[in-house]
């Protein structure tokens, strides 16, 4: 097993961890978004969806544990990489200029990542770990988004998520070695499309809910 530690501890190994966990998050985001669409079906549809999810409990627990584990890996490795990369250039340049390789997404990964982490924690306390004996989840969401502050917060964070994913998505493919001149443009296109879907899909929900009320 020593070899596995060595492999995953190497620079490319760490990247592999980032890519696999990151891609799973993308999968999660897609699933989460799909589920959230039930909100447009109204109170009953959405609550039914939530109940149905809960009825899958043992599976759901597994998925949650997996997500937490992946999040730990993604966050810890991401922070480690950030630290190592920072110290790989102890004397910085006086003038920094890009040659055109970097994008907003790529240049801000650690920062957007940390914001996402904070948001996720907030988000969990906001909607997941709340007392649902007297209210349904739909109502909790509905009431929350009466507050324009929450609406703004969610929209901004979803834009940030989109920025993170706009780089993360294609980058994960590159990391696992899937870069072919024929398909790379497609993957990069998908990356952009996915980030737009994330921003628009999640971002519109708070708007819709605030309008509904």
């Amino acid at each position: 097993m020593n070899w596995l530690v060595k492999t995953l501890g190497s620079s490319i190994g760490k990247k592999l961890l980032m890519a696999l966990t990151g891609l799973s998050f993308c999968g999660f985001l897609a699933g989460h978004l799909a589920g959230n669409l039930f909100i447009y079906g109204g109170r009953d549809a959405f609550n039914a969806y939530a109940e149905h999810l809960q009825s899958l409990r043992p599976l759901l627990t597994l998925a949650e544990a997996g997500l937490v584990l992946f999040a730990l890996i993604h966050v810890m490795t991401g922070l480690l990489l950030f630290y190592q990369n920072w110290t790989a250039r102890p004397d910085r340049y006086a003038v920094n200029k890009t040659a055109g390789g970097r994008t907003i997404g790529s240049a801000t990964m650690p920062y957007t990542g940390v914001i996402l982490l904070l948001f996720i924690i907030f988000h969990l306390f906001h909607f997941t770990f709340v007392d649902k004996t007297n209210q349904t989840i739909f109502d909790i969401v509905l009431i929350s988004f009466q507050n324009p502050l929450y609406v703004t917060l969610y929209i901004v964070v979803m834009l940030i998520a989109a920025i993170h994913v706009s780089h993360g998505f294609w980058s994960a493919f590159q990391t696992v070695g899937l870069n072919h001149p024929k398909y790379m443009p497609l993957i990069q296109g998908l990356s952009l499309a996915f980030s737009i879907v994330v921003a628009a899909g999640f971002g519109f929900i708070p708007v819709y809910m605030s309008l509904m009320a």
Partner: protein, 254 residues
């Protein structure tokens, strides 16, 4: 058309690796736009010498863009602002009269400044020593045509082998990673039948050595590819990653 221009240079001066170093300003006047960047520095150095000062130390040898010995960061760009151009092949016609240029050495933990603009790039040699070769002794090679190599494979290998080892990829990378350099060598040899027998060992050894030498990690920023004077593509990095995974998960290499 040939013109002459005057420019101001803010050059990094540092006597030894231990010194702190800092910027010094000097003026390059009457610079012909036909000069190369290094010829401009030659002119500055001649003047400094005559003024009783110490000239700026900078590396160069072939001055035709192939040896990889030259290199400095000009206004934040390794080898200056032109695409696919080494510093020795950069011409002053790409600058304007009155420009102010900051000239710094390539910076990375793995590249110590030796003096002024000269850095120690010996870690790149160490990387090659870690496996950037085919283990064949002189003599005993089979006839060169005994193993046909499809043209497109040979071409791809050549694309990767075109690396001049200047270190601009490291200098350009926001993380001071050497991935493009290492991947170019791993790709060059992994593509060719001659390099295949050792591909797994090579990939593991070179990647681990790269980490030990203090280079950063890749975050796919693509600055290396954009700055590489030989336009080496990050497709090679993806190939290196594949070779590394093959080595780690599907070979006997430990």
């Amino acid at each position: 058309m040939t013109k002459t221009i005057n420019i101001t240079l803010k050059i990094w001066r540092q006597k030894t690796a231990q010194d702190k170093g800092g910027f010094e300003t000097c003026h390059a006047s009457g610079i012909s736009t036909d000069m190369s960047f290094l010829e401009m520095l030659d002119v500055v150095n001649e003047q400094l010498t005559l003024d009783g000062k110490e000239p700026v130390s900078f590396d160069s040898d072939c001055r035709e863009g192939i040896c990889g010995q030259c290199g400095a960061v000009v206004n934040g760009r390794p080898h200056g602002p032109e695409k696919a151009t080494t510093l020795c092949q950069l011409h002053m016609r790409h600058f304007k009269d009155g420009d102010v240029l900051a000239i710094e050495p390539f910076r990375a933990k793995a590249f110590k400044v030796v003096r002024d603009l000269i850095v120690d790039r010996s870690p790149l040699d160490k990387l090659i020593q870690a496996g950037g070769y085919v283990s064949t002794n002189t003599g005993g090679a089979p006839d060169a045509n005994s193993v046909p190599i499809p043209k497109d494979i040979a071409d791809k290998a050549m694309d990767a082998a075109a690396c001049i080892g200047c270190g601009a990829c490291v200098a350009a990378c926001p993380n001071a990673a050497a991935m493009l350099f290492v991947s170019a060598k791993i790709s060059h040899l992994a593509l060719l039948p001659q390099g295949k027998p050792e591909a797994a060992k090579r990939a593991m050894s070179m990647v681990c050595t790269m980490d030990e030498l203090g280079f950063g990690n890749c975050t796919n920023e693509r600055e290396c590819e954009a700055e590489c004077p030989k336009e080496i593509s990050i497709v090679n990095i993806a190939r290196m990653n594949r070779e590394f995974f093959k080595s780690a998960f599907f070979s006997a290499v430990m």
